[in-house]
């Protein structure tokens, strides 16, 4: 024999579920934005790293040039 549970305030439960769904959509949208920002940040960091490597090479060259001028 099936047993049933009586649900009082069914409409308010539906309203809460609706609000929760809206919040979930907002959270998903925010997460997408954060992901985009993170990708942009990663890109900028990569550029930083490349530029830093270039600077390092140049400093090495200057260092070698100053320390062993006869080779150049």
């Amino acid at each position: 024999m099936p047993v049933f549970i009586k649900i009082d305030d069914y409409n308010s439960v539906l309203e809460i579920v609706k609000a929760v769904r809206k919040k979930l959509d907002d959270a998903k949208s925010t997460l997408l934005k954060i992901n985009d920002l993170k990708n942009e940040e990663d890109h900028q960091l990569e550029m930083w790293q490349n530029t830093l490597s270039e600077v390092e090479k140049k400093i090495d060259f200057i260092n070698h040039s100053l320390n062993e001028p006869e080779q150049f």
Partner: protein, 157 residues
């Protein structure tokens, strides 16, 4: 002690014997008590901890967790998404579905707690990132100043 008070008089008229009365006949009828379940006791009341053999999951079972309703009643619905929204009548959900909903709510609560922890970690991580970024900026400024000094020295000569 019969000598003191005299012989006990026996009534001449026989006393009515009376009828045997049923004990239950003298009791007030007990109204069927309506058991009120407090929110804290819901899980216990529906036997949430007890294993329940759920029926095979299929689409139709999940689509209609409520009591079946006559098709003629459904014609008057205003919203397809919430078929019981406009009704004032009492609504009942199958206990299996109810237990499942309680279980899902429990899982959601656990997942939200985990997300909260992750959020805290991310907050700390962002703080560290900001700190490291400031340190990097200071280092680059120092590097730039040093290069300017070298430049000045080299071009001076």
């Amino acid at each position: 002690m019969g000598w003191l008070f005299g012989k006990k008089k026996v009534p001449q008229v026989p006393l009515p014997e009376g009828r045997a009365i049923d004990d239950k006949a003298l009791r007030f009828p007990v109204a069927p008590s309506r058991r009120v379940i407090e929110p804290k006791e819901i899980k216990e009341a529906v036997g949430f901890d007890k294993p329940v053999a759920f029926p095979e999951e299929n689409e139709t079972a999940m689509d209609s967790p409520f009591e079946p309703v006559d098709e003629s009643e459904e014609e008057g619905l205003t919203s397809d998404a919430y078929p019981f929204e406009s009704r004032k009548e009492e609504l009942y959900v199958k206990i299996e579905v109810y237990q499942r909903i309680l279980g899902e709510i429990d899982l959601v609560k656990k997942e939200l707690t985990e997300l909260n922890e992750t959020n805290k970690k991310l907050g700390t991580s962002e703080f560290n990132e900001e700190k490291n970024f400031n340190r990097l900026r200071k280092l680059m400024k120092g590097l730039h100043d040093n290069l300017l000094s070298i430049d000045k020295v080299l071009f001076k000569g």
